[in-house]
Amino acid sequence: MSTTAHIDKLFRQSYPRIISVLLSRYGAYHLTDIENAVMDAYMSAIRTWPHRGMPDEPQAWLHTSAKNAYIDIQRKSARDQVRDNHYHITQEQTTVNEIDPEDVGDPELKLLFLICSPHLARIDQLAFMLKTLSGFGNREIAQALMQKEETIKKRLSRARSNLKSKQVQFDWPEEAELQSRLSMVHRALYLLFNEGFYSSHPEQWVKKDLCLEAMRLCKYLTDHRLANADSYALMSLMCFHISRYESRLDEDGNIILLSDQDRSHWDPFFINLGNHYITKSASSTTDKSKYQIEAYISAQHCIAPSIDQTNWALLKELYKALYHIEPQDMVLLNLVLVKLHLAEIDEAKALFESIQVDRLQTNKSIYFMVGVELYSKVKDQFQIELLLEKAIQASDSKKELSILQSRLKDIQDNKN
């Protein structure tokens, strides 16, 4: 069984590589056939490897096998559809070594750019990215994005048919379009990462998997000549965040506030890596982008030895700058916390009261926690009770509900 152990993730890992290399050879128009060809290759591996043992170079074996399967599929459909046209595909002599070490990451990155094309609906892009670039199955995507498998299937087939009907070429965008596409890639990777970092998914490993996928894809970018200051900042941001991934959730997967997290569990490897990328980002531009500011914010927490020794004054400026670029309530909620640490209680309270909880799509539980933090400082039991009641009405998670209810009961018991 030792052979199975070390190729444990071979299929999933080889998937994006084979898909993108075949796409760059045969074009996006043939995506569906290419996907089937890769699965055919896995099926051949299942049927032959157990008898014969593993090939010396399993990746290369799969690659060649997928390419041959693709040619077979094309030949079959040519036979079925254009019998009269003497349509002819010659079997190409296949070589084992298809993988050019010089361009590792290049076809994958090209595919990432293709997925982030304006021809695909934003909502379909994440699912499609996980399918083709992460080798997730429909069920895994549905689980990770917390959507129905049927919905994922629809998204994927819509993405495929859009690529086909709009005749999207598997190639780099035009020079003029390159920068805007790059920022779409950044946004998509950022979304993917956040999907893993902030979602209320019950399975923690599922979420971390999403974060790591976003980082793996982002690394294609930062290793490539196309990377710009934002690419490095995004990578930096992800590194800082992931460094405290485990310590921000308790055993039941509930969010632990920053002040209660055990800093000794933050991973120094990723903090160093985050520093490396933010330095790289800062040296290539003077403008401050959303990703840079977010990376700086995260960095401030990572380098602070304790919650009290955190540079809250700087954080306040950073959050204000961030809100200027991106006026979102989530930023304000963070600003409330910062102001509490700076003992600007009245300002914090005014700010909190200006946020309309109904407008928050997700993160309602964060709103609630910030509120409780705030009203604990001013010892306003009435407001805490009110907030808890509102949170209970808004909650759609059983686990969250039971926590909220027990906290409310505690408060009411204390009063009596």
């Binding site: 069984m1 052979t3 199975t4 190729i7 444990d8 993730k9 071979l10 299929f11 999933r12 080889s14 998937y15 996907e35 089937n36 890769v38 699965m39 896995y42 099926m43 051949s44 591996a45 299942i46 049927r47 032959t48 490897w49 157990p50 008898h51 080798g135 997730f136 199955g137 429909n138 069920r139 895994e140 299937k153």
Partner: protein, 117 residues
């Protein structure tokens, strides 16, 4: 010990619902199954077949292009295993990993010269 041939049909692998990880898991099941039979010294041989079929219907050397049965009924491979009787062979067939794809196993004892001595 007698020898039995197990003939596998392809079934219908719906790629849409299978992920690379699912396939990987299936590979592990196949490997584990064969390793187990080898360890018990009852695995004789096994092969997988490609899906393309040609049919020779006379001595004229002309082949007709297949498949000739429904794709899911196509023979996808075979094992030769050692077992004392059909019951024991049936026991071995329980380890076949592809039933969930609608694939089936046909079991047949191989005739040997010694049967008639």
């Amino acid at each position: 010990m007698k020898e039995f041939m197990m003939i596998f049909t392809a079934g219908e692998p719906h790629y849409e619902t299978l992920s690379p990880s699912d396939m990987q898991q299936r590979l592990s099941l196949w490997q584990a199954w064969i390793e187990d039979l080898k360890a018990k010294n009852i695995y004789v041989d096994g092969r997988a077949l490609k899906s393309q079929r040609f049919l020779a219907e006379s001595a004229d050397g002309i082949l007709t292009d297949g498949p000739f049965v429904e794709a899911k009924e196509l023979v996808s491979g075979f094992f030769v295993v050692k077992a004392v009787d059909y019951e024991a062979a049936a026991e071995i067939s329980r380890g076949f990993p592809d039933y969930d794809l609608g694939a089936k196993v046909m079991i047949s004892e191989i005739e040997t010269f010694s049967d008639y001595q």
